[in-house]
């Protein structure tokens, strides 16, 4: 009886091992090899319409007649739905042709550049690009007799959406890298920020290993500046009457920050419980909200691209709404244990009018993948 129980325990262990590693939002550079192209054709056998990435499963027959089951990532369901696509835009049994690039590992998995319905030639799951927002088309809304509002005007809705850049590089430095922060030339590493030697070596290691250890891939919260680098947005809720601003984050673990604007001093590291988002205090400098944040733990990467930090990290963020549709984000990174001097970076963020942040949870995909097949191929 005891032996039988252990066999069942081992079975449970095996099933759990076959499940993905609480995956979610892997950086594409870590998962796919953009240098290789792949063409796949076959019938759709599965549709997995879940956050953060939707997949279709297709059976691909090779020249010898052998059939292989491929998983094809087609995009984020929220983005797809904004472009008019639904889970039933393709049906089980439809023949499709896929152009894309394959996973870096041995899994039969690919990321689609295009999916074409064979019988009609129609392109499926294309993301429509929105027209560029005209700057200064409308002035930023304001509090009566005071500074600009960082949220919507009364009676309106909206949130801050896609950033103009998804990487953090010292201002004035032009270093070619992809949207995940993967350098085109590893020899440029030293230009990205004023690293201490150990930090540069660790940064180069993370680059060379294609971000395989990125905690974000396991849904660890995107603290630091990283939550402003994802496409799912954020929203300010200003509460001047009680001296605080709440910052709701749409991506990652859908968390929040509290920025105290009641004049309290910035927290001291020794008095703080170290967290992913740190402890923030803010003040207004004319129309710019200046936020100081300390008290970060070391369990996450604070930006895309793998730049290191320590518990000594102090971020000074400056949020300036230059017009209705544009938020200028500037950050000073001060971590004397990691960098030789404070340094600056930043980007702009676009207003998404008349919408709320859409529901997004990093955990969602982990669960659905576990339930759907447990093959372990999709996100390992």
């Amino acid at each position: 009886m005891k032996q039988a129980s252990w066999k069942i325990a081992a079975l449970g262990l095996g099933i759990a091992l076959a499940a993905p590693l609480a995956p979610g939002q892997r950086t594409a550079s870590a998962e796919y090899d953009a240098e290789r192209k792949i063409k796949l054709s076959g019938p759709v056998v599965k549709i997995d319409w879940t956050n953060p990435s939707a997949f279709i499963g297709i059976n691909v027959r090779d020249a010898s007649g052998t059939v292989a089951a491929w998983e094809v990532e087609i995009g984020n369901p929220l983005d797809l739905e904004k472009s008019g696509w639904r889970w039933d835009s393709v049906h089980i049994g439809d023949m499709v042709n896929v152009d894309g690039f394959p996973a870096r590992g041995p899994e039969l998995q690919a990321k689609a550049n295009s999916v074409v319905l064979a019988r009609t030639g129609a392109k499926l799951f294309t993301i429509s690009s929105k027209p560029a927002v005209k700057t200064a088309s409308q002035p930023a809304p304001r509090w009566p007799g005071s500074h600009v509002r960082l949220g919507p005007a009364p009676g309106k809705k909206g949130y801050w959406g896609p950033p103009s850049s998804t990487v953090l590089v010292e201002t004035g430095v032009n270093v070619p890298m992809n949207k995940d922060g993967l350098l085109v030339n590893i020899s440029d590493a030293g230009k990205v920020a004023p690293f201490q030697p150990w930090a540069k070596a660790l940064y180069e290691y993370r680059q060379r290993t294609l971000f395989k250890d990125d905690p974000y891939n396991r849904c660890i919260p995107p603290g630091g500046v990283r939550h402003f680098q994802n496409p799912y947005g954020f929203q300010f809720l200003e509460q001047p009457e009680i001296g605080r601003i709440l910052l709701f984050l749409g991506g990652g673990d859908r968390n929040w920050r509290i920025i105290y604007t009641d004049g309290r001093p910035m927290g001291q590291k020794d008095d703080l419980v170290l967290t992913y988002y740190g402890a923030s205090t803010g003040r207004w400098d004319k129309d710019t909200l200046v936020v100081d944040t300390v008290g970060f733990n070391e369990k996450f990467w604070f930006t895309n691209g793998g730049l290191p930090h320590t518990e000594a990290l102090h971020l000074t963020e400056r949020f300036t709404r230059t017009d209705m549709d544009t938020l200028r984000y500037q950050v000073t990174v001060d971590d004397p244990r990691t960098y030789t001097r404070p340094w600056n970076g930043g980007w702009t963020i676009r207003w998404v009018p008349d919408q709320e942040i859409q529901e997004y949870f990093c955990e969602e995909n982990a669960e659905s993948t576990f339930l759907s097949n447990g093959s372990g191929g999709k996100y390992q």
């Binding site: 009886m1 039988a4 129980s5 252990w6 069942i8 325990a9 081992a10 079975l11 449970g12 262990l13 099933i15 759990a16 091992l17 590693l21 609480a22 201490q196 030697p197 150990w198 540069k200 070596a201 660790l202 290691y205 993370r206 290993t209 395989k212 250890d213 905690p215 396991r218 849904c219 660890i220 070391e298 369990k299 996450f300 990467w301 290191p308 930090h309 320590t310 518990e311 000594a312 004397p336 244990r337 990691t338």
Partner: protein
């Protein structure tokens, strides 16, 4: 009974997968390292080193407790080799000089390791430390 065993199997594996999610991502040497040293595979002496990075130096405490000693840790980040040097009490209570040279492996892993050669007094052996 069988169901309970199944649940335990899943739970243990889940925990083993979740733990790496909380890896320390700052200076790779920061943290508590446990392991042992010895001149052969069967006779090993436990070693714990707690290391911290203050922005200039990595400082270590060897075997924290009444008989602890501090060690300056030098690291060559070009190849992630690490050297410890300290004076500490041996099993008989006599002070001996200890030096160890090792290599930090699997830099991004929560359970990264340092392994290499350990010199303690006249004895020489191997050591392996794993970050807890």
């Amino acid at each position: 009974m069988r169901l309970r065993a199944f649940y335990w199997g899943c739970l243990l594996t889940f925990l083993s997968l979740v733990v790496p999610s909380f890896a320390q991502q700052g200076h790779p040497l920061t943290g508590t390292w446990n392991g042992d040293w010895g001149s052969n595979p069967t006779q090993r002496t436990p070693v714990t080193i707690v290391m911290s990075w203050d922005g200039k130096d990595v400082k270590g405490i060897v075997n924290p407790g009444p008989d602890s000693s501090t060690t300056l840790v030098t690291v060559d980040v070009s190849n992630w080799t690490v050297r410890f040097e300290t004076d500490m009490k041996d099993a008989s209570g006599k002070m001996v000089h200890v030096s160890a040279d090792g290599k930090l492996d699997d830099l991004g892993s929560y359970h990264r390791t340092i392994s290499g050669t350990w010199h303690q007094g006249a004895a020489t052996g191997t050591f392996k430390l794993t970050r807890e």
